[in-house]
Symmetry: C2
Subunit: 511 residues, 2 copies
């Protein structure tokens, strides 16, 4: 055993090693300077006369007779910081940089004093540096992002660089804020974050849509002993934990092996799925409204500049729409009312309202119907509840038949303008007998006359799901939100491939 003194000696050796030749030979600015770095967001918030060190990428260079203005961004905010440099090569070199190396896309590190830009109407700070260093040059000929404007299509072909543009920087910040807003809503409301598994042996939602893990290379053997899939939803696992700890939520990637090449679908996307015990449709609806409002409010608070950017460049109504979302209760309709509204709209619309698919009780609502309800009828988010049992999943809790003897379930969808369905949820069938009958009918659990051993060894058997109702069952409810759809909704962007860092869809899994 070596005592404390040994440790101290070792530690002091360690500290000295920072001054070793290895460190000094780093070509770039030393870590001692890097650690003094201020984000550009924080620098912009400081007063004239403050001394700061900033690092970032050059967005534009404007050369005038006596000065050069170099605009730099570091991703901490949409805005840039203007660095004022002497126009003369020798004077610039005295600061540490060759002017010809400071080009769009190059990275710089500058230290100096913030001063007010003279003559401007708005108070704005610029940096007068004592030192400027070019950390990484950027060849103007070969850099793909040279041009001022790039189409979103072009940027989808340059996925690894698109985060350097204003649009994708803003998307990343808003996406981050929306995610944190969701976390803080759930944490503030007694939900525990549950990391539900990605790999699963249960293929209950239809194996055709699920990605499957390949067998072990060169063998006809499964790594896990059973066929294994990528999850399509964490709901069932959420129920497992809600039926023990009351309130949980998942926030993780989910997968669909569907051949959908649309602006609304991805093969890999993120879902948020809360599940609550001791809850009914009322809690389901109110928590969905609360979570969406809290999330959007957090984005409005922390990304005002980004939202203003989207409002100016992508969707002139986005700022107003988001303000309404956070301040007003969402509208609510039953499915039966929604169908009536749609039929009436066609009948009274005098040809101005028409749908590809005629609205009729019993059908699933199509995006055209959902958007009509959210955009034309409500002009804002609207919950539709109590859907026909036949078009909804087996786990949704059956209502008693309605006055016309039609069967509905205690489910809800949240529809929003531009997107259609943002959230789908329901009360879960907690009655053992009702659920068992339905699952047996659908072949989700084996036939009753099998012996127990066969049942226990059946792959993907959902008997455990029935156990949650067999032992201390509780009324419970939950919902799922497609996170990328929320990002679309909050940014006004049109294509889901533009609101996730690396989009995966049929035919593309780049990088």
């Amino acid at each position: 055993m070596i005592g404390r003194r040994g440790l101290s000696a070792a530690q002091s050796t360690w500290r000295n090693c920072w001054a070793s030749p290895a460190r000094q030979q780093q070509r770039t600015v030393s870590t001692k300077i890097l650690s003094r770095r201020t984000t550009i967001r924080d620098a912009r918030g400081q007063g004239s006369g403050a001394r700061v060190a900033v690092g970032g990428w050059v967005k534009s260079v404007r050369k005038h007779k006596s000065v050069s203005f170099v605009n730099v961004n570091d991703g901490s905010c949409l805005g840039e910081l203007q660095i004022t440099l002497p126009a003369e090569e020798a004077a610039a070199e005295a600061l540490g940089a060759k002017l010809s190396d400071i080009t769009v896309g190059s990275s710089v590190f500058a230290e100096g004093e913030l001063r007010e830009v003279p003559g401007g109407k708005q108070k704005r700070l610029e940096l007068h540096p004592n030192t400027v260093e070019v950390l990484g040059k950027c060849d103007t000929q070969s850099y793909p992002l040279q041009k001022k404007y790039h189409s979103l299509e072009f940027l989808r072909d340059n996925l690894h660089l698109r985060a350097r543009t204003n649009t994708f920087g803003a998307v990343t910040r808003v996406r981050n804020a929306l995610g944190q807003g969701l976390h803080s809503y759930f944490q503030d409301n007694d939900f525990l974050h549950l990391h539900s598994p990605i790999l699963t042996s249960s293929d209950c939602e239809g194996a055709g849509e699920m990605f499957r893990i390949a067998k072990i290379d060169g063998k006809d053997e499964e790594f896990f002993g059973t066929p294994t899939y990528l999850t399509v939803s964490g709901q069932l696992h959420g129920e497992m934990y809600a039926c023990a700890l009351s309130k949980v939520y998942t926030f993780g990637p989910t997968f669909r092996a569907e051949n959908s090449n649309t602006t609304r679908h991805l093969a890999e996307f993120w879902m948020v799925e809360p599940e609550m015990a001791f809850a009914g449709l009322e809690e389901c609806v109110s928590s969905a409204q609360g979570a969406v409002q809290h999330s959007v409010a957090h984005a409005l608070e922390t990304c005002a500049e980004d939202i203003a950017f989207f409002n100016k460049n992508y969707d002139k109504q986005i700022a107003e729409r988001l303000e309404t979302v956070v301040t007003k209760d969402f509208a609510r309709l039953t499915y039966t009312e929604a169908i009536e509204i749609l039929r009436k709209a066609v009948a009274e619309g005098k040809g101005k309202v028409s749908f590809e698919k005629k609205p009729e009780w019993g059908m699933d609502l199509q995006t055209e119907h959902e958007r009509f309800l959210a955009e034309k009828y409500v002009n804002g988010p609207v919950f539709v509840t109590d859907y026909p049992a036949d078009i909804k999943a087996f786990y949704m809790r059956k209502n008693s038949p309605d006055s016309q003897n039609r069967e509905t379930v205690a489910g809800m969808d949240l529809l929003v303008p531009k997107i259609g369905e943002l959230v789908g949820g329901s009360v879960r069938e907690e009655r053992f007998e009702v659920l068992e009958k339905k699952m047996r009918h659908l072949g989700l659990i084996p036939e009753e006359d099998l012996d127990e051993e066969t049942i226990a060894s059946a792959d993907g058997d959902l008997d455990w799901y029935l156990d949650l109702r067999r032992f201390g069952s509780v009324p419970h409810a939950g919902w799922g939100l497609g996170f990328e759809r929320l990002v679309l909704f909050a940014t006004g962007m049109d294509n889901i491939r533009d609101v996730i860092p690396l989009p995966r869809f049929p035919g593309q899994c780049k990088h």
Copy 2:
């Protein structure tokens, strides 16, 4: 088009529908009562005389002559709330429940008044209910969790019910707290949460360890057009975004198709991987310490009762160890010093210190060495930096050769007692020429003499990774933390399969 008035009418119809027969026929307590539910954690914090409604699962029933004590837990905390019921069947039934239905594992909903338990030394509240309802019965004969004590092995066979035990409730709460502590550290320090992809076409870390997605059913075709794998790390994608937006972190599932049946490995586990531009080893080390301290501090603050439970039942040193972690700086050694310390320990240990693998410069540290350093030498977390270049990944930044002309990289591992490696990180090689040479040598990018078209179409090509250095390269650094290892460290649990909701390992992917 239908106007505002139409909407109001529809909404009022909707509101009325809550009182419809469908709702009233729910067998269990109505949602109106459920929404008045207080968590048991909050109920325990209230004063005597407060009226509350609580729901939960029965943990124990003690029948006395005149009263029955029913202890109930709802997962909001480790502690239980005692409900005091009359011992007489008729009196209990007048409150709404059959005493014989209130068994361990059944779920109940009770409303009444909190009163101080008479005669106790510690002030403690119990619930005197006006109504009690059994929501879900639980057959004492068939319920697997009947017995008082269950081994962790037994509970691993009953994964879907184990969250109902004290241990797994506590693990879930601490895991939640540690995750939120990490999020809040990163959010407070200007990191953006990045959802790096799970599906990836790059197999650069060695395809042998990666799960591969099966081809489309019945066809010899890849869904994405290229062989697709499950990610082993989000680091490269983290670098993509850090080289645009400065500071990002991933927090998501990662996968290893290794046949490791140990208490430290899973096939699916969660990793936290921050990546920082304008950063060196110093920032790497200080952010790792900051994140771990912040995370553990959040768990200590919000899960004191759970930590005390682990301290009592699983590891008598855990509370003290965690307190030290959050209050003291972590120790630091270079790899070269660590080897010297290990060699000296063997030499001076007089047979009391021995290792299976003899410590020698150039070898990778084994868990036995890591634990010796963290447990015996430091007795706490310790960073080891500057490893030999040959044993570390291609992307780590090369130091200048040391005094003995040995090559090292600016990498670091954080070693902690009981676990060994908790964090691994490094400065990334930002020099284009150095990195290109190394990647070509390793076959990660095609040979130079290929034509450009062939290079561009190569599957899993990492040329994009070089682009980050080609255009505005910046010094950057990052690290990865195995989240389950942090949960092990913070709970004192021994087996990694017990700190993730649904463990996946060779041969098992249950539920």
